[in-house]
Amino acid sequence: MTMHVPTTPEFKANAHAALGNANLQAALRGSRGNFVAKRAKARAALPEFDDLRDRARDLKNAVLADLDLYLEAYERQVTASGGHVHWAETAEDAQRIVLEICRAAGAATVNKGKTMIGEECAINDALAAAGITPVETDLGEYIVQLRGEIPSHIIAPAVHVTVPEVEAEFRKAHTHLPPERDLSDLAELLREARGVLRAKYFEAEVGITGANMLIAETGHSVIVTNEGNGDLSQSLPRVHIVMASLEKIVPTLEDAATILRVLARSATGQEMSVYTTFSRGPRRAGDPDGPEEYHVVLLDNGRSGMLGSDFQDMLRCIRCGACMNHCPVYQAVGGHAYGWVYPGPMGAVLTPALIGVEAGGQLPNASTFCGRCEAVCPMRIPLPAMMRSWREREFAKHLTPGAVRYGLGIWAYVASRPALYRIATKVAVAALRLLGRGTIRALPFGGGWTGERDFPSPQGGTFMAQWKARR
């Protein structure tokens, strides 16, 4: 079955390409600081914000402590409301289940609301391979689909695309419209997309959405959006499929409110997204609209393995994107450099857990551990500590590059012997001063630094030697 093949091992090469991509850099520069300022403003306007983050963390931890039972409670409610719950151990299983439902519905096209689980399972590729056309209805996802890409940000999928690039894609794809039409206005582009997708809403037999939350008390699935496409995708077709991973469960409607209060504020700085929709089962008897069938595909794909591990806290993630908005590495290279579905700090922790540390291990290394991600995470997830845990696993498996291991080994040997260390540092200082006083323009073996920076030369002597001399 088709799957997004991760290019995470090529992170450095991907990053290099990203740094040289003028369009991408323009897009990143344009959006930089935007989400940061908005979140800060929203936080300042709600005095209880940080307290709510603690509560959100605590309620999610309570769920994880009894995840099996909350899932069963949720399943009972979905079934009682006339819906169907399907359990998928792997992405392939999820593909198979979704295809079965779509075939049974005789679907020729499927409308997609934004779903990261759908991306994780490469559901569009699976549908297309089965002769079913997936139509992305989220504007950002639609743009990305036209470009043949995957999203570069978990809530702003097309953040890496400039406006001229959007216009180019629309002209290429919307061949039924007059080629001489004026698309210089952003409003014209929006109007065009709205018009093109409106017709598609009425064509599809199946609508697939994700779920920001699943509510154990009532069996609701919840989507948090701004466009309304997720709602049209689930209300017009005959069949509504929800794709959600196991850890999306919250106990009650009140708990959902706690999460909602920190979710949009952390993501875009809004107090509430425009549309927060709670869906429960198929249409009721007498309903004139709404789907006739409601299916929830619960995906494991590695989550059960994270429970009880050093990475359990990652299961608290509510996919707000605050971490990547505040990450200087993400802001420098954009989301595609990460090479798979989940970018930024949350991607650095989650990707090795889902695709293995051999394939995903580059990502937790591409961090300075500055900690800004953890500082803004609404669920208080200790992201740098978990990245460090991945590095520990790599070290134990001898995946750490040989040069790094060797260098660390030498350092450890010398630095564990103070007398030897004194001699070594004295020699090193003298050697560096031979290369230049004040500043060194080129370091042998240090091209990574001196390629673009000077290297300040040592003052002379060492503190420890001078201190000893003064005694």
């Binding site: 450095k12 990053a15 290099h16 740094l19 600081g33 200087p328 590495v329 420098a332 290279v333 591409a366 961090s367 300075t368 551990f369 500055c370 900690g371 800004r372 953890e374 500082a375 500590a385 460090r388 991945w390 590095r391 520990e392 696993r393 070290f395 134990a396 750490t400 790094v404 660390l408 350092w411 450890a412 630095a415 564990s416 103070p418 260390y421 540092t425 090193a428 200082v429 006083r437 004040g438 500043t439 240090g446 091209g447 990574g448 630094w449 390629g451 673009e452 920076r453 000077d454 290297f455 300040p456 040592p458 003052q459 002597g461 060492t462 503190f463 420890m464 001078q466 201190w467 000893k468």
Partner: protein
């Protein structure tokens, strides 16, 4: 001296000088000693110190890191406080050492107790010793970079600014994105030099935009990274460790200058 209004014996402080200060800028170590002595501390420098072990810890080599931790804890036990002129090294001592050892390992308790006594220099002066002013003068426009570990692991933000505020004639201008990482990150700058270069370029641009003549921070790694970039770019501003200003040690060359 008095601590919180009560007469106390002079605190015995062990200086953890850090490998970067030891090798690249000993004057920072001496400025730190001066500040501690002026504040009424007895200062000693344990001879057996080398490195805090942060490179090993951050690279995932827990066993080597634990070895460093045990040696440092053993060499520095018996003092009232351990103080370092570095947010990242102080954070390693204060927070990471305890996390290195498993629950039940007696070293965990020892590391925890040791960590509780370990501090970064500026926050030690203000938060522990109650020093909120230094009698120094420096007629210069400066800006302050918040090194990540000090800021987020130890909460060092207001303290250096409070002390700098007491320096006569010093005008402190905040740069845009003062709290954003400079791209040093220990091994990061050599593992991912391209990305590191972009980050430090953003940082020197923000520093220059303030018009400040002097860039200050509490971590020499960050300072060397930013000074090195500024030098390559031909920027006008100079970089010093914050203790140099606070101790009145501005005569010597700034970081990366021959004179």
């Amino acid at each position: 001296m008095k601590l919180q209004g009560k007469p106390m014996p002079a605190p015995r402080v062990a200086l953890f000088v850090t490998c970067l200060v030891d090798m690249f800028r000993p004057s920072v170590g001496f400025a730190t000693v001066k500040l501690l002595k002026d504040a009424g501390c007895v200062v000693e420098v344990p001879e057996a110190q080398t490195c805090c072990g942060q490179p090993a810890w951050n690279s995932g080599d827990r066993e080597t890191a634990k070895g460093f931790a045990r040696r440092v804890i053993a060499a520095f036990e018996g003092y009232d406080y351990v103080v370092a002129p570095s947010g990242s090294c102080a954070a390693t001592l204060a927070k990471d050492y305890a996390a290195m050892f498993e629950m039940g390992d007696p070293w965990r308790e020892r590391a925890s107790a040791f960590g509780a006594r370990s501090h970064e220099i500026t926050s030690f002066l203000t938060d522990v010793l109650g020093v909120n002013a230094v009698a120094q003068e420096a007629r210069v426009v400066a800006t302050y970079h918040d090194s990540c570990s000090g800021l987020r692991s130890l909460g060092v933000k207001a303290q250096p600014r409070a002390l700098l505020g007491s320096v006569t004639g010093l005008e402190l201008r905040e740069m845009a994105e003062a709290e954003v990482c400079c791209g040093f990150g220990g091994t990061f700058c050599v593992k991912y030099p391209e990305i590191s270069n972009v980050m430090v370029g953003d940082k020197t641009r923000n520093v220059a935009a303030t018009g400040a003549a002097l860039l200050l921070a509490g971590d020499l790694g960050c300072l060397m990274n930013m000074a090195g970039k500024a030098s390559r770019e031909g920027r006008a501003f100079r970089a010093r460790h914050v203790v140099e200003v606070l101790a009145g040690d501005m005569a010597g060359p700034a970081i990366g200058d021959a004179k």
